[in-house]
């Protein structure tokens, strides 16, 4: 990416309210044309960060730059940035056409008709131009909010939980729609969400935020496959975390001991300092694990990590079956098995061997809270 005109650069930006620190000093660069997601539970500082970029919140320290221009001191109406607000903030007294034309008119553009019509066609609302916002469905209002922001050709479009008010099916549809629009217009999108699936579906780069800090930044696949903290491991999808002790280190591989099992862990996938005798957390995603009945344990190829256990619970969810396995290293080991060939013996109470390729194992610093990020997912689901 040679064009850096639309880069968003945050340097040492922070925000405190009295004694409460909403955002700890933060450095972040969002490259021009990317779809960037700020992901985190409510109250993690993601919306505050977004509002500081928009100019709606003044940073306590640090600077915000767009391209080569430092915009920290500019009021929102002078920033080449537009926002799609949570619950849209459409002007209730203006119709769809005037809502979309608002930004153009404020910049003194007289002939807005053609542009507005084109923009309404882009979001498939050409027919609704003369309706008031309250006459539209949630999905249509959402599209008006996007059109109203995009028509100004901002350098950066900020989206604050734009899909939060929609039902699940519509949300999926709008995720794809927004992604399509972003590809079409090529504007930098910064998207704030608490929905990890949404962030992973839409964004090229995701920054996971927790308690006012960025925990980890990377592509969705990288964050998912190689989490660097227990928060990321638990917040993004589900992880099985095992408390283990480093037994030996041989070249690229670390051998760890958990209960009486020995597990292999690629050194490159361990973010914690692993010295022999030290503690680490070993993680494995539930869908990477194969489940074999104890009677067939001999058929498991050599070189795989294995743990024995007893099935505690199973739930059939169509594409896969989710098992909860009671093991000596972890009470509730989650395993997701594709429903290709179902072994009828895998019912609660059955003795099983869990095994997986060492390459899928990751290691984390054992000094962290092993349950970080789990609660916040549940809170969001309840909200």
């Amino acid at each position: 990416m040679t064009d850096t005109n639309g880069d968003v650069r945050l340097s040492g930006i922070s925000k405190t309210y009295g004694s409460f620190t909403a955002v700890h000093p933060l450095d972040l660069t969002v490259p021009q044309g990317s779809f960037f997601a700020l992901l985190g539970a409510s109250g993690c500082g993601k919306t505050t960060t977004l509002r500081m970029i928009a100019g709606l919140e003044e940073p306590t320290t640090g600077t915000v730059s767009l391209g080569d221009q430092d915009v920290t001191a500019l009021p929102p109406y002078k920033r080449p940035v537009n926002t799609v607000f949570q619950s849209y903030a459409l002007f209730p007294h203006l119709d769809v056409f005037e809502n979309v034309a608002f930004g153009l008119r404020r910049r003194g553009i007289k002939s807005v008709k053609k542009q507005v019509e084109e923009m309404l066609d882009l979001v498939q609302l050409g027919e609704q131009a003369r309706k008031k916002p309250h006459q539209l469905s949630g999905g249509q209002q959402q599209r008006v909010a996007v059109a109203r922001a995009l028509i100004n050709h901002p350098k950066v479009l900020l989206l604050d939980e734009p899909l939060g008010a929609l039902d699940l099916k519509l949300r999926r549809q709008m995720q794809l729609e927004l992604k399509r629009i972003q590809t079409e217009v090529g504007i930098t999108f910064i998207h704030v969400t608490h929905d990890q699936e949404e962030a992973m579906t839409m964004a090229d780069t995701v920054a996971v935020m927790n308690a006012g800090r960025v925990e980890q930044l990377g592509s969705p696949a990288e964050l998912y496959e190689n989490p660097q903290s227990t928060f990321v491991a638990n917040f993004l999808g589900t992880s099985n975390l095992i408390k283990a002790e480093v037994d030996a280190k041989s070249g690229d591989e670390i051998v760890v001991k958990a209960a009486d099992s020995k597990l292999l862990l690629p050194a490159a996938r361990c973010s914690a300092p692993a010295s022999t005798g030290g503690k680490v957390l070993v993680g494995i995603r539930p869908e990477k694990i194969s489940l074999t009945h104890a009677d067939d344990a001999g058929s498991i190829p050599d070189g795989r990590n294995r743990i024995t256990g007893t099935i505690a619970d199973t739930s059939f969810i169509g594409v896969s079956t989710q098992y909860v396995v009671d093991t000596p290293v972890c009470d509730e080991f989650a395993v997701y098995a594709q429903n290709i060939e179902r072994d009828a013996r895998l019912v609660p109470g059955a003795e099983v061997v869990l095994h997986w390729s060492p390459a899928h194992t990751f290691g984390l610093d054992a000094a962290q809270d092993i349950d970080a990020g789990i609660e916040s997912v549940e809170e969001e689901a309840a909200a």
Binding site: L56, F85, L90, F91, H93, K132
Partner: protein, 309 residues
């Protein structure tokens, strides 16, 4: 599986349920309406009919009045007292505009900026109502008294020269001039302007102002294009609540004005209580009512508030 077998027996119950309470409580709404309707009948409809009949009677106090359908009373009253009508509309109009100019910034401040002081300021707005209307108006007599501090200050600043030239004060006097009456009206009806304005401003989502700023509107433009239009219901109800009672008011003109500042309310009061010419007084009341109704209807049509959310 269990949900499938349980579903059918559940279905018929919701069909039956809504009927039962409706049958039992069918008359309740009418009974609840009854006290209000009776009140209106006795204290509004009957007096109106009585007044209407009085306005078309002829006769004298000694011989008694008879309904003679003498509609000429209306014409006579209007042709004799049109200056007072005009003055009422003018004074009430000016007072309403002043109330709006004074009340809007205050209502805006209470709604958006007052923070934890909000309730304190609201109580202060209502506080004057703890004292009688008459006493508050009499207090203005002291405030605007000849040679008092207000008149002194205005005189020193040469404001009185300008107002005298405009014909709203007389020389070194403020009391007994149009200015005093309009001041009294503005003061007395200001809370009726502030409260509806506050209510409609307070309902406006603060994010709309942010959204306007985000879409390149400078703060004042954001106010003009978003906040003000959305506060129109408050502006309309505030101006009506101020204008209607102000145009019928006679206390302010009586206590703070002179014979040259008589409003139609003063004429009606005099006709009823001093001259005892009941038909003329009743006719004047009906003309005032009709005039206000017409003006208000036109005003509401023009401001188009029904279109607002």
């Amino acid at each position: 599986m269990t949900t499938v077998t349980e579903a059918p027996p559940l279905a018929p119950t919701p069909v039956e349920e809504p009927r039962r309470p409706r049958r039992r409580g069918r008359h309740v709404p009418y009974w609840l309406l009854l006290p209000g309707i009776l009140w209106l009948l006795v204290f509004f409809a009957l007096p109106m009919v009585y007044q209407a009949s009085t306005s078309v009677q002829t006769g004298s106090l000694e011989e008694g009045y008879k309904v003679t359908w003498h509609f000429a009373t209306y014409w006579d009253a209007l042709s004799e007292y049109w200056p007072q009508f005009l003055r009422s509309v003018l004074y009430a109009g000016v007072a309403t505009v002043l109330c709006l100019l004074l009340g809007y910034p205050l209502a805006y401040l209470i709604a958006f900026r007052a923070g934890r002081w909000r309730n304190v300021i609201l109580v202060l707005v209502i506080a004057p109502f703890f004292t009688s209307f008459l006493i508050r108006t009499l207090a203005w007599k002291t405030i605007l008294a000849d040679g008092g501090p207000v008149v002194g200050a205005l005189s020193t600043l040469h404001v009185l020269d300008v107002t005298s030239w405009l014909g709203i004060t007389a020389g070194e006097r403020v009391l007994a001039t149009p200015l005093a009456v309009v001041c009294g009206l503005t003061y007395n009806f200001l809370p009726f302007m502030i409260l509806p304005l506050y209510t409609s401003l307070e309902r406006i989502d603060g994010r709309l102002h942010e959204a306007a700023g985000d879409l390149y509107a400078k703060p004042f433009t954001a106010f003009r294009k978003v906040t003000f239009p959305l506060s129109m219901p408050g502006v309309v109800s505030g101006t009506l609540l101020t204008f209607i009672p102000a145009s019928g008011d006679y206390v302010n003109a009586d206590l703070l004005g002179s014979t040259d500042t008589r409003m139609v309310g003063n004429v009606i009061q005099t006709q009823f209580l001093r001259i005892l010419d009941y038909p003329t007084a009743a006719a004047l009341s009906f003309i005032l009512m009709a005039a206000i109704l017409v003006m208000v209807t036109l005003y509401i049509r023009k401001s188009g508030t029904e279109d607002l959310v």
